[in-house]
């Protein structure tokens, strides 16, 4: 059975988030809910789209993942970049001057 | 549905014709292009103000010869992102000198109101009055414009308003 996760961007600041369980989103990929099979994924995605309708998140979609002993991994470069950020060093990799509160959902 | 006309909410007295079997007497009639083309003579015999509603793939050039028969043109926006009718309104006002009401129907965002007005729309059907209370304010949010604004003419000449109907309630600008 294919294993699937669901991701979106949080509306407030655009961060990448992963569906951790129904209605709960996390910025950490390691929290992502592992969904077994397309049918279950479609159901949860429908729920996620309702979250999108209430506009906490934008543009949810599902993507395949792989589960192994160490945890879960992604299969595409795009999802890899969404987890880790750009693969290139940005000119001055500093956080902005404004107070950055780490908010976990 | 509520009608926002000249920046005020008024009642809409136009009757949108679905079939020609059920037409109330002495009531302004809003017809589609098809209905007009098929039943033109019948409609004219009713001797009431006539309005024409165009779909947004029905440009004004389809009806330019008949514009004199209408005191209302309703232009539709099936999606607010489809901006064809902005051009249709300007063409009606500026090329054809249409002086009746041009109203926008369909899916419209509050923030589009000033744009509609500047293209010659003077009325707008709003889906829900309660949600639209704040809409009137939208007209004054942008006061500076870089392009000439299409003027909205004053009420149509008396010739097209039969005397037995009280048109004060329809809300032509006073």
């Amino acid at each position: 059975m294919t294993q699937i996760a669901i991701t979106a961007n949080r509306a407030r600041e655009g961060s990448v988030v992963y569906l951790a369980r129904a209605g709960i989103w996390s910025k950490n990929f390691s929290d992502a809910l592992v969904i077994e099979g397309k049918d279950a994924a479609d159901q949860l995605l429908a729920g996620a789209l309702r979250d999108a309708a209430s506009d906490a998140v934008i543009g949810p979609y599902s993507f395949p993942i792989k589960v192994n002993n160490d945890g879960i991994t992604v299969l595409s470069q795009r999802e890899n970049i969404r987890i880790h950020g750009p693969s290139v060093q940005i000119p001055s990799a500093s956080a902005p001057a404004r107070d950055k509160q780490h908010v976990s959902i | 549905m509520p009608l926002l006309k000249n920046q005020r909410f008024i009642d809409d007295f136009w009757f949108q014709v679905e079939t020609l079997d059920h037409i109330p007497a002495h009531t302004p009639l809003l017809v589609s292009l098809d209905q007009w083309q098929q039943h033109r003579e019948v409609l004219l015999r009713h001797a009431v103000p006539l309005g024409l509603r165009l779909a947004n793939d029905q440009p004004p050039e389809l009806v330019t010869e008949d514009l004199a028969h209408f005191t209302l043109i309703a232009l539709d926006f099936p999606k607010f992102t489809d901006g064809r009718s902005y051009s249709y309104a300007r063409i009606l006002r500026e090329h054809h000198g249409f002086e009746g009401e041009i109203r926008a129907t369909g899916n419209i965002l509050r923030d589009q109101l000033p744009l509609l007005q500047r293209c010659g729309f003077d009325a707008l059907v709003v889906p829900d009055r309660a949600e639209s209370e704040g809409w009137v304010a939208a007209f004054s949010e942008i006061s500076v414009v870089f392009q000439p604004t299409t003027p909205i003419p004053s009420p149509p000449p008396e010739a097209v308003t039969p005397s037995e109907i009280n048109y004060n309630n329809i809300g032509f600008p006073s």
Binding site: P86, V88 | R84, Y86, E94, E141, V144
Partner: protein
């Protein structure tokens, strides 16, 4: 440069307030994302892979030093300390949060900048010859007309919900530095036989999925008809452009489907009705805008500067920089200096806040406070005295801004690609960096000569690879990044769309493929011809043979 008058200030201020209230309504869930999206797009705010991206308009690529300093402040205060200059002369900030955007926009209004219409299905930033006003080969300053078009197109009520985006470019020079024929509409100011200056109007160009070069819509449009004619074009497009299919909604598709003569006739028919109306452009109005673009007070200098000659002799690094990065200025004794944003380890088009501040102060000291943004993602100091070039170079060099590769192989144009962009299929920046490093030797680059190499991360072709001598398109082949190469594109006055050489290369092979292409050129060129001349003369066969070992 153009100075905002009260009307401009007020319009932008009102727009910022309007958008701020829209953001608030969005954050309070009074506006759904579906409703907010077109509004935020009209204010240049995209949601990208990791965060919101704001595209700030830099009309026709002209910046004052104050504006550049403000961009540095925004980069530091709200973003991650840098900005990215784009192929349409705008700047992008990649890491903004939604609730900061109204503040960013408010800060920008203080220096007469905004993000209006930098995205969405409306008329976008009007781009122009980046060297307008100073280039030796121009007949007039193209920015005068770009500014007139900008005003007309700003919050135009009829054309705010077009079938698709609409891009206009303006040039008034013999050499096209504005990629005119890749635009929906392009205006080329030139003299007719009677010696009058008017516009060739070109229509229906574009890159993307269906690259096509714009064709001539009208050979000569008198200046007085500039706005009424554009209005006619847009009115035809707004009514007839396709709305059923996102990928067939640009004006280029309409022009192709109607055919040039039918399209032109429709435009002329509309134009005939409106040309003498409110949009007739009197000479006095043009003169008024021209006054805003009056050249600075230049010194009367000899064109040959002995100090420069001496500096060239004593510093080889400086000499190389002058050789590639200085363009001929129309004013004797002055030069146009390109600040290459293509250092070997950098990201094409990216500038840190610190670099922006230094460039602003150099501009104040040496370039009448003005900077330009080019379609090649570089910056320009348009007005440097030749005797000051050495001092400028020293300052730029300290900040890694003096890479001497303008117009050469490592002056690569690359879109942000999969590292940043939601639409991308493959990464473009790592490839640009690898190639930049591989070919960093300047003597070799000068030997190779003038060449363009552009890398797009998806079929939308934001890096304009179709009109590059070597165009590279990143594609996703079965989940891995592959790169398809085209050769023979050009946008240097001769216009051509490149041809695909063959199957795409996996990421680990594409660098070698570029190497092979350069080698083939070096082996087969004649009489000092440029790369593109060799490709034009020989076609693709010799390259294909080596690339795919077909021999």
């Amino acid at each position: 440069m153009y100075q905002y008058n009260n009307a401009d200030h007020q319009l932008v201020a009102e727009r910022v307030e309007q958008f701020s209230s829209q953001v608030q309504r969005r954050l309070n869930n009074e506006l759904s994302e579906d409703e907010f999206k077109p509004l935020r797009l009209m204010n240049g705010l995209y949601l990208q892979l990791h965060a919101y991206m704001l595209r700030v308009a830099i009309p026709y690529g002209t910046l004052s030093s104050d504006q550049l300093r403000k961009l540095a402040v925004i980069a530091k205060r709200y973003d991650r300390g840098y900005g990215h200059f784009t192929t349409r002369q705008n700047i992008q900030f990649n890491w903004l949060e939604l609730e900061d955007v109204p503040n960013v926009l408010a800060e920008l209004t203080g220096v007469e900048m905004h993000a209006i219409q930098t995205s969405g299905n409306c008329i976008r930033n009007v781009t122009a010859d980046p060297l307008a006003g100073v280039a030796a080969d121009e007949i007039e300053d193209a920015r005068v007309f770009a500014e007139i078009v900008r005003q007309w197109s700003t919050l135009h009520p009829e054309f705010s919900f077009l079938p698709r985006k609409f891009k206009i470019a303006v040039s008034a020079a013999e050499n096209d530095r504005a990629l005119l024929r890749s635009h929906d509409i392009a205006l080329r100011l030139h003299h007719n036989d009677a010696g009058e200056a008017g516009f060739e109007v070109m229509a229906g160009g574009g890159q993307g999925r269906t690259p096509v070069l714009a064709t001539t819509l009208r050979e000569f449009l008198p200046q007085a008809g500039l706005l009424s004619y554009l209005e006619a074009v847009l009115r035809v497009y707004n009514q007839l452009g396709r709305r059923d299919n996102l990928y067939k909604a640009r004006i280029k598709i309409l022009v192709m489907e109607m055919g040039d003569p039918a399209f032109a006739a429709k435009v002329e028919e509309e134009w005939a009705r409106i040309k003498d109306g409110a949009l007739f452009l009197p000479e006095a109005d043009i003169a008024r805008i021209k006054a805003d673009f009056a050249p600075p007070i230049y010194e009367g200098l000899d064109d040959t500067d002995p100090a420069l000659v001496a500096d060239l002799a004593k510093n080889q690094g400086f000499a190389r920089w002058v050789r590639s990065n200085i363009d001929i200025h129309k004013q004797p004794g002055y030069g146009i200096a390109t600040i290459s944003l293509k250092s070997p380890n950098g990201i094409p088009g990216d500038v840190t806040a610190e670099q922006m501040e230094i460039i602003a102060s150099i501009a104040d000291q040496f370039s009448f406070g003005e900077i330009r943004v080019t379609q090649k993602q570089n910056l320009v100091l348009p007005n440097v005295r030749k005797c000051d070039l050495y001092a400028v170079w020293l300052k730029l060099d300290k900040m890694d801004l003096a890479t001497a590769n303008a117009g050469l192989l490592t002056d690569i144009v690359a879109c942000p690609g999969l590292d940043f962009c939601n639409l991308a299929n493959a990464r473009s920046i790592p490839l640009a960096q690898r190639l930049s490093s591989r070919f960093r030797d300047l003597e070799e680059q000068h030997d190779i000569g003038k060449i363009t190499l552009n890398i797009s991360g998806c079929i939308n072709a934001c890096a304009q690879h179709h009109t590059a001598n070597i165009g590279i398109l990143g594609v996703d082949k079965k989940g891995t990044e592959h790169y398809q190469i085209t050769l023979g594109g050009r946008a240097d006055g001769g216009d051509a769309i490149g041809t695909i050489v063959g199957p795409a290369f996996p990421a680990e092979e594409v660098d070698g493929a570029v190497d092979i292409i350069i080698s083939v050129y070096l082996n087969l060129r004649q009489d000092g011809e440029t790369f593109i001349a060799t490709v034009d003369r020989l076609g693709l066969e010799p390259f294909k043979e080596e690339l795919y070992a077909l021999a």
